[in-house]
Symmetry: C2
Subunit: 491 residues, 2 copies
């Protein structure tokens, strides 16, 4: 069959690429580094968007939209931001094409050169804070709790579908506050929103914490993150929330009259997740048969496939199938009944396995006579005969069980691949052999961190906020360490 996947064992990276393209999630486009998100992939992204958007609104945020373009000079206004973002980006220099005088197609009109170049936003702190300047005069105007759903562009040299693309879709929250404390509470609140979303919807057990200084967002005083483990033991940063201090307010001169009548710079946060979450979702759960989707993220939760020899049989099965479909839809379960006669049942089984539909019902004449259906779970690939009586109760519970099982499996995998190490030699050896997350002591310096990265390609993924931190000694330098931090190789 054309849709066979490379196995994970064989080549994990190729397995991922095969899966993304063959399950119709996304593909590379004619524009280098930019992807096309295909309908099946986009439907999953829409589910993510709907849940997140509601979570943002429930926590008091509203949506708005800011320009795609940023004047070049804006990027230089925040010193560390420019280092992080002004380099690899798409630069608009002209605003007109004209017919080629040599007769072939169109050329850039040299007379239509922009006075100041425009950058396609790699992130929107600068354009948004230049706007907030006009919106904020007094403490009465605060807090501003605004989110934007948008596309952004970062000119990546090595791209991978969903994980790292030149253009990607995301949401970016940008909030403004009257006090440092309030801004920190906001940044922490939003990383918890992301963690809840990852755990309860994506079924991914993420670790919440902070980044080390070297791994922080360019312009942030503190970066909170959620880190997930993929099936090859590598880490994937799935979302970040930044406490930006007064850096952007100072860069764009955004001051407010305080309650006490003074003037002060505004405090800021920003936070975002992107279509990278699609990569996380795919890599965390899927198997050699294809995509495994937690039911809450599945555009189609149940598919029904008829097994028939002739049209008279099909008609009978149709009736029973539509009945089941109706009952399930009443419970808010999304169902597809695939009675196309252009494809055989075996082809359909493979197709819906590949696309990650959590529950498959197959129904033939014998099932019909016994008032049963054959039910296959995508997560375990187990098949059982189930009565059509009260099948909606059965499936409603089963979807909850599958959601939990997928989470538990990922949790167990992470636990089995997380190791405490105290010696740098052991760390290096085991990292090469097994991958995974390493809880190790670090002396807190950027130098040691850089050395470890240089020598092992592992980075500090997250520093957790432990209630009882375990002190010790840096595995490299032997200097004192306040707590273990999480090292891993990462996407």
């Amino acid at each position: 069959m054309a849709k066979e996947l490379t196995t994970r064992e064989e080549n994990y990276s190729q397995w991922y690429n095969d899966l993304v393209t063959k399950a119709d999630l996304a593909e590379n486009s004619a524009v280098r580094g930019c992807m096309v998100i295909k309908p099946h992939g986009y439907a999953i992204w829409e589910k993510m968007q709907a849940v997140l958007d509601k979570m943002f609104k429930d926590t008091g945020h509203v949506n708005a939209y800011f320009p795609l373009f940023i004047p070049k000079s804006f990027l230089s206004k925040e010193a560390s931001h420019v280092e992080g973002f002004a380099k690899e980006c798409a630069v608009v220099t002209h605003y007109r094409l004209k017919s080629d005088p040599n007769g072939k197609g169109v050329i850039v009109d040299p007379e239509a050169k922009l006075e100041e170049e425009l950058i396609v936003r790699p992130t929107s702190e600068t354009i948004i804070w230049s706007t907030y300047k006009n919106w904020i005069q007094s403490y009465r105007d605060l807090p501003l709790l605004i989110n934007q759903w948008a596309n952004v562009v970062r000119w990546e040299m090595r791209t991978r579908l969903f994980l790292r693309t030149a253009e990607f879709l995301w949401q970016e929250g940008h909030t403004a506050h009257a006090s440092k404390e309030e801004a920190i509470v906001e940044a922490e609140k939003m990383i918890e929103v992301y963690a809840t979303f990852a755990r309860e919807y994506l079924a991914i057990p993420v670790i919440v914490g902070r980044k080390s200084e070297s791994e922080r967002f360019a312009g942030a005083l503190d970066t909170y993150c959620i880190e997930a483990m993929m099936q090859d033991g590598k880490a994937l940063q799935a979302g970040t929330s930044h406490f930006l201090g007064q850096n952007f307010a100072k860069a764009f001169d955004v001051k407010f009259a305080t309650k006490e009548g003074n003037l002060d710079y505004v405090w800021a946060t920003s936070w975002g997740v992107s279509t990278r979450l699609m990569g996380a979702l795919i890599m965390a759960h899927s198997d050699d048969h294809g995509l495994v989707l937690p039911p809450k993220m599945a555009p189609i939760q149940v598919v029904i496939v008829p097994i028939y020899k002739n049209m008279a049989d099909l008609e009978k099965i149709d009736n029973a199938a539509f009945e089941i479909k109706k009952k399930l839809e009443k419970r808010g379960i999304s169902v597809k009944y695939d009675n196309r006669d252009t494809q055989k049942p075996g082809w359909k089984f493979a197709e819906y396995e590949l696309k990650g539909v959590p529950v498959r019902l197959a129904m033939g004449m014998r099932d019909l006579e016994k008032n049963e259906v054959e039910l296959a779970r995508r997560d375990t690939l187990q098949k059982t005969q189930v009565s059509q009586e009260n099948i909606e109760d059965y499936i409603e519970n089963l979807l909850v069980e599958i959601q939990q099982n997928i989470y538990d499996k990922a949790f167990k995998f992470r636990a089995e691949n997380t190791f405490k190490v105290d010696s740098y030699e052991e760390f290096k050896k085991q990292l090469d052999e097994k991958g995974g997350f390493y809880l190790a002591h670090w002396d807190g310096t950027a130098e040691t961190e850089a050395l470890i990265k240089e020598e092992t390609k592992a980075t500090i993924r997250v520093i957790t906020d432990d209630e009882n931190p375990e002190p010790g000694f840096c595995m490299v330098t032997g200097k004192p360490s306040k707590q273990r931090v999480v090292f891993a190789r990462a996407y």
Copy 2:
């Protein structure tokens, strides 16, 4: 008061600009021609998106996402398309900035020049059809019914918030079909979807029909449109649906194996509406007090304002107000209770009038004693005393009535400003005096159309598909005409 608007009488255009900015709908950004859509404006756009997205899905369409950038050479592939779209657009020529060696900020790195320039999409036919080429082999792959929600850029020299901006938000449907007939049915179906949306949700009575050849989309064989009348008598094109024939299939070599075993080019449609609809909604209904929103498009449908002298009073009013809020929300009505003590009731009244909240409830101690509230309708500005008993029934019905009333008012206005004319002299005179729509005869030639446009700035807005077309003689040339067409000056 700072938020006073210019009146429509005084200066319609200034009234519109005042309204858009003062009602917090949108504002100009630091980037020429690009707007910031503020939270109140964006909330209305989100309501439009939600309704349209559901209508698209109910008619069998799915969403996907295609790249922001289009290789320059793609634009030249469809001959008439390049004329229409390849001219005023944002051109990306470089992919990197570097620190200015003279020490100030960043400059474009001359070594990071793209081999082929990229155009920020002005519309996506070319990039999408270059993708469809790989998706379509056989009639079994058809139809493809895909929609995209996206931002697009057209480098407009003279911009106006929502109506004409360099960057705007829109949806673009791009469908592929096995037959000409099926593609035409699709193009017609989607213009009807738009018409239904405009009438039933935006409360705008639109005229459905076709464009003349000169007004067609660049690359289309037929352009269907909906045209709305604004309060100054000018027309606004609110949505278009194009039958593209096989033009893009030929340009990108997209062929399919027919059921009969032949190879044929695929048939195409595209259709779109944009944030321009925001401009139509604002201009169609609003008055000198501010925005008037049809209830179905209002982010807040009911606002409750307490009138109190002291905190003891407020507490009593709070209780009653929250009770009403709960009852209304149970009916799916969105309610804001504004008991902020930083603003006076009069300020709040003006604010919610400006922002177009359809129903305002004011509640003081006297109302409370009589178990009543004062209710003000935004559309008529009428106030009445209403019992709190069963107020949810009353308001539920009232919202339906307001929605209808706003539509009826717009319908009446259009009827009163639509004129049959038979002489070109009369046409010119009356157009200058009264504006409005003119039903006139035209000989069907581009020359006459161009002459009328040149002399009067009026264009053919729409050619309706009349059951009993009234033949006559062109008002300019006296040549035979099959039916009257709609002329107007337009946005």
